[in-house]
Amino acid sequence: MEILVCIRRVPDTSENEITLNADRTDIEREELVYSINEPDNYAVEEALQIVARCGGNVTVVTVGGEDDEEVLRREMAMGANHGVLLSDDVFGGSDGRGLATILKTFVRKGNYDLILTGVQAEDGGAQVGGMLAAMLDYPFASLVNSIEVGQGKKLKISREIEGGNKEISEIDLPCVLSIQTGINEPRYVGMRGIRAVASVPVPIYGAADLALDPGSVGATAARVKRVDYFLPTLGGGAEMLTGSREENAERVLELVAAKGGLK
């Protein structure tokens, strides 16, 4: 099976403190640590496991600049056979639809049976996968937490719905799936693995290579634009207690009892 996984390089929220830059147009990026978007990593691991069972290749693709190449290499170190960077100045400022458009043109160049994305990016809207599927007229399923390769060109998938329940469906190939975290246990990739793929070439495709009309992507085409960032009011909702630990515990107990919290 030929599998394409769309990945994204994002700031690592668990290891960073997110603050805003001086003019609030962006977050302060200077001391940020970046890594692959966590759900995307699960998607790549899932692709690798499927290919290990059924044969085939895994290609990882991202839209960005040269900084983004590092996540491609990391996933290649994990086992992906090919990595591709889609990069062009005109891509800058694309909204979700723009990203999906760019990815669509790349998909059309190849012959992929299965396309995976992560369910959502840290700075994203859980949209690219669904949009891409609609643009390609492929069936789509989101929040996938289990994939079984069936007979013929079909998959049996499970989606995560409310209450911990699972919705089981059958889906035709080729299709697009957005993958939820926890679907598997991704293998470890260390510096050694990344060094081993350091010299593998990563092709870069621009708008011309993809036969993409620049007017359909980028800031000019974006219908959704972020105007600025702001910090939500800190503790705005809660009354913050400022006493000693003992005093705080007493106050909490008082309030909880008053609200009927002690049986």
Partner: protein, 708 residues
């Protein structure tokens, strides 16, 4: 040995008809043994290289101390005494055994140097030796069958019991002694019957007893026993010789070599591949041990040399709390794998993955690298290198538990397992209140110092452990040391990163720190973290001398420069817990104790398991992130040991020990009854700020020393 050619002729005659048979047995036995040993050596020739031929004098010393001197055996007094006795017996009996064997084919043979008086003395000695060995075997068998020491038991998951085989072998040795004694006794009885004077001075020995029993029988009967004794001896001897390589008794042959080739240095690890430099590692296809043949020949020799005594597992903290690891079975399973895949006949098979077949992943991740197993093993079997190599193999395959992937990733991107920002590394020293008391300078191109205080990750970032950092800084300040820290330029020492098999990441951390340390121009390093101490001392190269704060304190106490205020008489009983990487791996046992004992009024007790028998707290570094399957926390066991010793304060000298012990105090429900304190914290607390001037008049020392 015999006087009188008459008796000699008689004895020769009794053995005459067996000569061909004896010769045949000799040939079969020796050829069989040679073949078996050759087959056993095959995997060693397929193994990885191991550089063990250096420093012959040091190795000889080890052989004398640990092999001939049986140095480690008395750690378990009963078994140890028994073993020393029958080991000595074997050594003494060696020449007698050979003489007896040869005599069956060449009756006139006498061992060179053992004719005449020397021979008689030797005979007496060996008569007693055989007796002692015999009774040792009987006692050992009784011990196995009746008293059944716990460490010999085989948990169900590791297969069937080894008891039958053990008793069988012990019995065979006993039979060998009886056969030999019977042979000697028949000889003496024959001489007596023939009217020869018997110079038999080994009264109450086994041969002596048997001689008495035989003296009254007829000469032909004696002849029969003589022949039977000989044959039994020869057959038993060769049976044992050829049987030993099929089980734990192979250690009889391999022990000398295993000890000679044993490790000479502690604290460090084997490189990924011997003879391959760091720069060449990128070309190495596979890291670590994945198949049996990835072990080095010395590791394989270890597997052959294990005597199944169980002392290692008996002292293993992971085993004690029910984790899947038992060092003894790590070795036994590998040995059984070797026996199975390298059989006596047929093509040797190889290449099977060890993890998932004989070993489980959790088994290998469970080890805290405390070194108790290696400290205990009388045959110097090594464990830590093998565990690290197996981990290297798993890391190479991407097979790392999710719980460890997060801190490893944080170490890669932020240089510490918590993922905290580099710029906050010195925050522990930058609180306003602390700066009034002690200013800690960060070394850079403007600020230099003689001494570097290497703080390492946990002390720098953990809210609780930061107090150890502050205490250490205050001590150095009080002692007038010109010191500084690297601050944001300091990354994790990488000590556990290396021991968890991530060699590449370790090298990156090591190289970064090495550059920072060398650029700082310091001539000495002090740390309060034994893991950092061990890394800088053993894993890093080209470092200035490194000391642990306990060594600094002990020296200044001894010189009289450092004095402590007495502790209050509040019923506190202190006990010192030896951290593994300060104690066992670096043999620093006395300095911390000297410091404690110099504090007036401090009542100190010793736990049963202390010094090189200290019981690991549970492990540090990445081990704090790993989620093992266990029945109990390792630290809880240690805290109970402290309570059993009558202590209510545990003093330790390692931040990881502190984490585990304080945690264990809570989990064990001993809050309020037991506390823990770091040596540096205690010393800082008790430092007397009054020092005597030359004329004996007290002078108040400056508390606040500003350095810029």
């Amino acid at each position: 040995m015999l006087e009188g050619s008459q008796s000699h002729a008689q004895l020769t005659a009794w053995l005459e008809q067996g000569r061909v048979l004896f010769l045949l047995i000799h040939l079969l036995g020796v050829a069989g043994f040679a073949y078996i040993v050759a087959r056993r050596l095959i995997p060693l020739f397929r193994a990885e290289r191991d550089l063990r031929f250096d420093q012959p004098l040091a190795r000889l010393h080890k052989a004398l101390k640990f092999w001939l001197g049986q140095w480690k055996h008395p750690r378990y007094p009963t078994a140890g005494t028994l073993h020393i006795l029958f080991f000595a017996g074997f050594i003494l009996l060696a020449m007698r055994a050979f003489t007896v064997l040869i005599v069956g084919v060449s009756p006139a043979f006498v061992m060179p140097g053992l004719s005449g008086e020397a021979g008689r003395v030797y005979e007496v000695i060996t008569d007693y030796a055989a007796t002692v060995v015999f009774f040792c075997m009987v006692i050992a068998i009784v011990r196995r069958l009746v008293f059944k020491p716990a460490r010999y038991e085989v948990p169900a998951k590791f297969g069937k019991a080894h008891k039958a085989d053990a008793v069988f072998l012990l019995a065979l040795i006993a039979i060998l002694m009886v056969a030999d004694s019977l042979f000697e006794a028949a000889k003496a009885a024959g001489q007596a019957q023939a009217g020869q004077p018997v110079a038999f001075a080994a009264v109450l020995s086994l041969p002596w007893l048997l001689t008495i029993a035989l003296t009254s029988t007829s000469l032909p009967t004696i002849g029969g026993f003589y022949f039977a004794g000989y044959l039994l001896h020869e057959v038993t001897f060769y049976f044992l010789l050829c049987y030993r390589p099929f089980g734990i008794q192979f250690h009889v042959e391999t022990s000398l070599f295993n000890v000679y080739f044993g490790r000479l240095n502690k604290g460090t690890l084997k490189p990924v591949k011997w003879g391959v430099r760091d720069e060449q590692l990128d070309q190495v296809k596979s890291f670590g041990v994945k198949t049996f043949e990835d072990f080095t020949w010395k590791h394989m020799l270890d597997f052959y040399s294990c005597a199944d005594c169980g002392r290692c597992s008996d002292n293993c903290p992971a085993n004690a709390v029910g984790r899947p690891l038992s060092p003894r079975f790590l070795t036994i399973k590998a040995r059984d794998y070797a026996f199975q895949h390298y059989p006596m006949f047929g093509k040797p098979g190889n290449g099977q993955a060890l993890i998932g077949s004989i070993y489980s992943e959790d088994e290998i991740w469970s080890c805290t690298t405390c070194g108790a197993c290696e400290e205990e093993c009388p045959l110097l079997v090594e464990y830590i290198d093998k565990i690290v190599d197996l981990r290297r193999g798993m890391v190479d395959d991407g097979n790392v538990p999710q719980s460890l992937q997060k801190p490893l990733k944080a170490l890669e991107s932020r240089g510490n397992p918590y993922g905290k920002m580099e710029k906050k590394k010195a925050d522990w020293a930058n609180g306003k209140e602390f700066q009034q008391v002690c200013r800690v300078k960060t070394l850079d191109h403007k600020n230099g110092a003689d001494t570097l205080y290497f703080v390492d990750s946990i002390t720098a970032y953990d809210d609780r452990m930061q107090s150890i950092g502050r205490a250490t800084a205050k001590i150095l300040d009080h002692l007038g040391e010109n010191f500084g820290i690297l601050g944001a330029a300091e990354k994790d020492s990488g000590h556990e990163v290396r021991r968890f098999g991530e060699e590449t990441l370790f090298m990156a951390l090591r190289d970064h720190n090495t550059e920072a340390i060398q650029a700082s121009g310091v001539t000495r390093i002090v740390t309060a973290d034994p893991h950092a101490y061990n890394a800088l001392k053993h894993d890093y190269r080209d470092m200035p001398p490194v000391e642990h704060i306990s060594q600094v304190l002990a020296r200044e106490v001894k010189s009289g420069k450092l004095k402590f205020n007495p502790v209050e008489n509040d019923g506190k009983v202190y006990t010192y817990h030896d951290p593994c990487y300060l104690g066992r791996h670096n043999q620093i046992y006395d300095d911390p104790r000297a410091v404690l004992d110099s504090i007036p009024g401090l009542k100190r007790v010793e736990m049963k398991r202390s010094r090189d028998r200290s019981f690991c707290c549970g492990g540090g570094g990445l081990m704090l992130f790993y989620e093992p399957k266990e029945e109990q926390r390792i630290g809880v066991k240690r805290v109970q040991m402290a309570a059993d010793a009558g202590a209510n304060v545990i003093v330790t000298a390692c931040p990881f020990c502190m984490v585990n012990i304080e945690d264990a105090i809570k989990v064990a429900g001993l809050e309020g009854k037991m506390t823990a304190i770091d040596l540096a914290e205690l010393a800082d607390q008790q430092i007397a700020l009054l020092a005597l001037k030359a004329d004996g008049v007290p002078e108040i020392q400056q508390e606040c020393v500003t350095r810029r």
